[in-house]
């Protein structure tokens, strides 16, 4: 069952801004699910991909199941947003990869003219044994600092599964962003979590809480966060890794750049090890742009502002 893949122009332009392949997003046969406020705009299933969705008063509920052993070659596009300047949206995605399934999901959340918008997302993901999921979520909150975006994720990784999770907000304003992510890993499961955020003004407030429980033997995790607090914005990043089993291994890597008066960056790594043969490490760097990087680029003819912009783009790319 499918519907016409017609994305509103505002969705397309913001997706383009965030670097999506918008031609592919609109191509026939590409699996996708697109919703605006509580309206389902378009969806497309593919072989081995089950998709069930229903709308309710304030949002949309969607369930994706990639069947056992199925490898979906094309990316699955998800697009959610509010195209008015005010409103509320609740998205309830449930994403399940059965045993040995593989998929890549490219998600886009957009609020291009947000002035007073609240977007809440409660995502549940289950990765079956030896499955692989790459999930990239790119946001665009417009230029008016008027979005309040509150995504929560609960993820369970079964034995031998792999999850690559990337969250990017590097265009436009942020408004208020608060992410809560909790992951639980079974034996030999592996997760890589990456956050890339740039604030632009004093009204931008970012709080990210990533928590990984390494419950299974030889489970491994990496939490990598890159943020630039610019124009008086504030960024708070908390990465927590708890290692509970033999051979469990985790690392938290946080880098935050602070540019301009009133900008604030704060990082709290929490590491907890409850097994003598487990190990968790962390590193953090918070502060001004590296002087040597700046001077190097200036010796190539870039002004201080151009050099700073170049460095920030690299860090959050």
């Amino acid at each position: 069952m499918s519907q016409n893949n017609a994305l509103p122009k505002k969705f397309i332009s913001s997706a383009k801004k965030c670097g999506f392949d918008t031609a592919l997003m609109q191509a026939a046969g590409v699996p996708h699910f697109y919703a605006e406020s509580n309206k389902i705009l378009s969806f497309q299933k593919t072989a081995g991909l089950e998709m069930k969705a229903q709308s309710f008063k304030e949002g949309v509920k969607i369930k994706l199941i990639v069947k056992k052993g199925v490898k979906i070659k094309k990316p699955i596009f998800l697009c959610f947003g509010i195209l008015k300047n005010q409103g509320k949206q609740i998205i309830l995605p449930e994403i399940i990869l059965e045993e040995k399934a593989e998929a890549k999901i490219l998600a886009h959340c957009t609020f291009p003219i947000a002035e007073k918008i609240t977007h809440r997302m409660e995502t549940v993901m289950k990765l079956g044994k030896n499955s692989r999921l790459s999930y990239q979520e790119k946001h665009y909150h417009g230029e008016n600092f008027g979005a309040e975006v509150l995504p929560n994720f609960k993820v369970l990784l079964e034995r031998g599964s792999f999850f690559n999770n990337e969250f990017i907000l590097d265009q436009g304003s942020v408004g208020k962003l608060k992410i809560n992510l909790e992951m639980e890993l079974k034996k030999e499961a592996l997760v890589e979590i990456t956050n890339k955020i740039v604030t632009r003004g004093e009204k931008d407030k970012v709080e990210i809480f990533d928590k990984v429980l390494l419950r299974g033997e030889n489970s491994k995790s990496l939490i990598k966060s890159r943020a630039a607090a610019i124009g008086g914005g504030s960024v708070f990043l908390q990465g927590e890794t708890v290692a509970l089993a033999k051979g469990a291994c985790g690392h938290i890597d946080c880098q935050e750049i602070v540019i301009g008066k009133k900008s604030i960056a704060k990082a709290i790594p929490i590491v907890e090890v409850c097994h003598p043969e487990a190990r968790v490490t962390h590193e953090a760097s918070v502060g001004k742009v590296n002087q040597k990087e700046l001077e190097t680029l200036m010796t190539r003819g870039l002004s201080e502002e151009e050099a700073t912009d170049f460095i920030v783009k690299g860090v959050v790319r």
Partner: protein, 248 residues
């Protein structure tokens, strides 16, 4: 004809206000390789950074004339736009920046083909390196070569190189001197080269010997090298390792 003229330059450290260079004067000719030599702490790197306008060094007297213009008060990027650039001894690393982007940072018009030619010139296989990141995954030697590639991409008139041979083994640094000659030939730029190694005599045209922040002598390479070796009581070593310096 002199490309760069340094007249009675005095420089203090921006950190502790200590005078590091006192009345330094020297000239660098067009299309030449000029070596700055001297023991550790003699002020070589300070001179290089002060010439480039790096802000942690304060010029307290004298002037720097580049292309007949007094650039003493210009910023780093203004000097770079005039055609002067510097490669640091330990190059910075850049997360998320590819070699291609790094080479294009100061010269947006440069084509991909040209960046590949530059990588070949400095001894790196273009296909292998053009999309790699300028980060900690590169070895020290590879990073130094990419630094050289980046300064060549600017098509500068003067390249200041702060000990590009430091930390390299003998085979690599001899190859490096060949690369520097290639750079001089290809770009027609002058090179101000800071080095401790006597072997720079293979490529140098002129030299300046600094000691404790002062110019001891400046001129054609060999007499300056002789003076430097005498100061270190190392003439015999120099002659043994560098037959080309026999007539010092």
């Amino acid at each position: 004809m002199a490309l760069l003229k340094i007249k009675n330059l005095s420089v203090k450290s921006g950190e502790n206000n200590k005078e590091i260079l006192k009345n330094i004067s020297l000239e660098i000719d067009e299309k030449s390789i000029h070596v700055l030599m001297g023991a550790n702490g003699s002020g070589k790197s300070t001179l290089a950074y002060a010439l480039m306008g790096i802000s942690r060094f304060k010029v307290t007297g004298g002037s720097v004339i580049f292309l007949n213009k007094n650039i003493t008060k210009l910023s780093i990027d203004q000097r770079a736009k005039m055609g002067m650039t510097l490669a640091f001894q330990e190059p910075a690393i850049f997360e998320g920046i590819s070699v291609q982007d790094f080479l294009r940072a100061g010269n947006k018009k440069i084509s991909r083909k040209k960046t590949e030619e530059i990588l070949s010139l400095i001894g790196l296989e273009p296909k292998k390196f053009i999309n790699r990141y300028v980060d900690q995954t590169l070895s020290g030697g590879e990073r130094k070569r990419i630094e050289l590639a980046s300064v060549i991409a600017l098509k500068p008139k003067l390249i200041i190189l702060d000990e590009p041979d430091a930390g390299l083994d003998i085979i690599i640094y001899r190859e490096l001197y060949g690369i520097l000659e290639n750079i001089k030939r290809e770009t027609k730029a002058s090179i101000l080269l800071i080095s401790h190694r006597e072997e720079v005599g293979l490529i140098a045209d002129r030299a300046t010997f600094l000691r404790r922040g002062k110019t001891i002598c400046s001129g054609p390479f060999r007499p300056v090298m002789r003076k430097y070796c005498q100061s270190l009581k190392r003439k015999e070593i120099c002659l043994k390792t560098m037959p080309c310096l026999k007539n010092l």
